[in-house]
Symmetry: C2
Subunit: 330 residues, 2 copies
């Protein structure tokens, strides 16, 4: 079996150049066709392809500079050496450095509002990967950078770009064909509304929830094929800018993912009663003509997709919502 | 293909005797291992076996008497000829009468509290079947009476008895091996708590919900085999009076059924935000030691299973709950 080290070795020079200061920004992303279930846990290889929209100015910036000793900073605060986040970041930097003594100062900051309750691992690992590639002056194709980001966090593979991106599951055992590419679609009227429900810490990480579902849910078996077919149908709807079809498919795909968790033993329920209340309110409003659809990840928040023409209605129904225009200039 | 008429013909004499006055009571029932999905819609043949507990004094009484003209009474009120309930009852009576002119007065009354929001078709068709069998002085084995009740409403097949009953799915195309039998288990400490959530009319009948799920849910394919294996495991737990195992299995089985609906396209959600709030409260209480588990059917109410020793705790946490002791003397 291939391990992550072998994959990095294949793409990196034996001897890295002296690191240069580098800064990279990556947006967070929300999957419209979900990633749920791994075929290889060590390599973060998914059972199915997925498709996302990036969140523009909600994301992570990582700055790397040479240093006399390894330091990890988060939101302008130096983290203690035993901090779990610092440990994850340095272990990922070691994938590049391997045994070369090149101490780094790594500074990360997020612009994702805390109240939005979105995970920052996607944008964090994407920005870290891009900053490391720059710092070590690696001339790598985007496909390889996306593949590297995947080894930090699965959904990071989709966070290198603005707009829509599709992560192809791939088929190779070493994961060299499992990376994302941006879609050539600009959809200026496309909007995301984040409806915060619960800003407390998650009960289970998405990694644990995924593994528990794959291992115990009697309904999971049907997911990978359905998710793969949804992903292609959702990509077609994005390319056609067919909002109704996209919305129906994205909502059904998200609910099917949550259904696999509900059937896990014991059941896994990231959605809270307040999340269901948001869904009921949405379904009632849609019955009365609102053109908006929901998607939910491994957390209690509900995200809506809509077009600009429905933004005022969504804001009236969900005053607590935060609107994102993914294609607006930065 | 066999139709219902052929099945009745096979078990009834060509010429029925003059009907005698007859009265029968049948309890309602709650499935601990759910019936969800038909392999034959005309004959109400299920895709999987199921297992229920009857609700003692919550049920239906049907009185049949010879009359000069067909009359259907519900809760002491004569129904108009075009009433859908009256139509269903008379069409079922015609299964017995076929073309014989034997006008009947059929009086049905329910003792199920309206606030409990439980369907009465199970107890209603079971009581009607038993009353017709008596009125026509048919000497039929219980298996046949249960099979007849099934042709009125699937879950009625389990409502002929008090206590636990298992409905065997059977394999014959004509459904002659698809009926329920009572389990020889007396569990005096067993309790059901009904937690009313929504007493309004259902958005979709369970029959429609079942058919929509089978037809459109990508996760439904795994249900029949899982439900069959759950049913056997639940029967074993009932026979061992192993409450923890029974509770865990019954709750997981109910959630898996609701998961198949959530993945239907469009999604089907009988559970309301208040239902999820009851579940969250239950899960928190269970984490703190409460021995009670949930089961939910095609409606918003939540039903708990527990033993007598937990009744006071359940009542304190859910003051609105209605407690049933299925094995208490009537």
């Amino acid at each position: 079996m291939t391990d992550a080290r072998t994959v990095f070795d294949r793409h990196l020079p034996d001897q890295l150049p002296t690191p240069q200061p580098a800064t990279a920004y990556a947006p967070s992303n929300i999957a419209l066709s979900k990633y749920w279930g791994k075929r290889d846990k060590a390599l973060n290889l998914p059972l199915n392809s997925s498709l996302s929209i990036s969140l523009r100015d909600w994301g992570s910036t990582t700055r790397i500079s040479p240093s006399s000793t390894d330091e990890v900073w988060f939101q302008d605060r130096l983290l203690p050496a035993d901090d779990p986040f610092a440990d994850k970041v340095l272990r990922f930097a070691n994938r590049f450095r391997r045994d070369q003594m090149m101490p780094l100062k790594i500074e990360t900051s997020n612009t994702i509002p805390t109240a939005a309750g979105l995970a920052s691992s996607a944008s964090g690992f994407a920005a870290l990967t891009m900053a490391l590639v720059q710092a070590f002056q690696l001339d790598l194709p985007d496909d390889t950078v996306s593949m590297f980001a995947r080894l930090g966090s699965g959904s990071a593979t989709r966070s290198l770009w603005h707009g829509f991106a599709r992560w192809e599951r791939g088929h190779a055992n070493d994961g060299t064909d499992s990376f994302a590419r941006p879609l050539e679609v600009r959809w200026p009227a496309f909007r995301i509304a984040i409806i915060p429900v619960d800003t407390g810490p998650k009960s289970h990480s998405s990694r644990d929830g995924m593994n528990h579902t794959v291992a115990t849910s009697p309904l999971f078996g049907a997911w990978p094929a359905q998710a793969e077919s949804d992903c292609t149908a959702i990509q077609n709807a994005v390319q056609d800018q067919n909002f109704q079809t996209l919305g129906q498919l994205a909502e059904a795909n998200a609910l099917a993912m949550h259904a696999t968790m509900l059937a896990a033993r014991p059941a896994l329920s990231y959605l809270k009663p307040e999340s269901w209340q948001v869904l009921e309110t949405l379904w009632t409003a849609r019955h009365e003509g609102l053109a908006a659809f929901a998607t939910m990840d491994a957390g209690a928040n509900v995200k809506l997709i809509l077009e600009a023409s429905s933004a005022a209605d969504v804001k009236a129904i969900f005053p607590q919502s935060r609107l994102i225009a993914p294609f607006d200039p930065l």
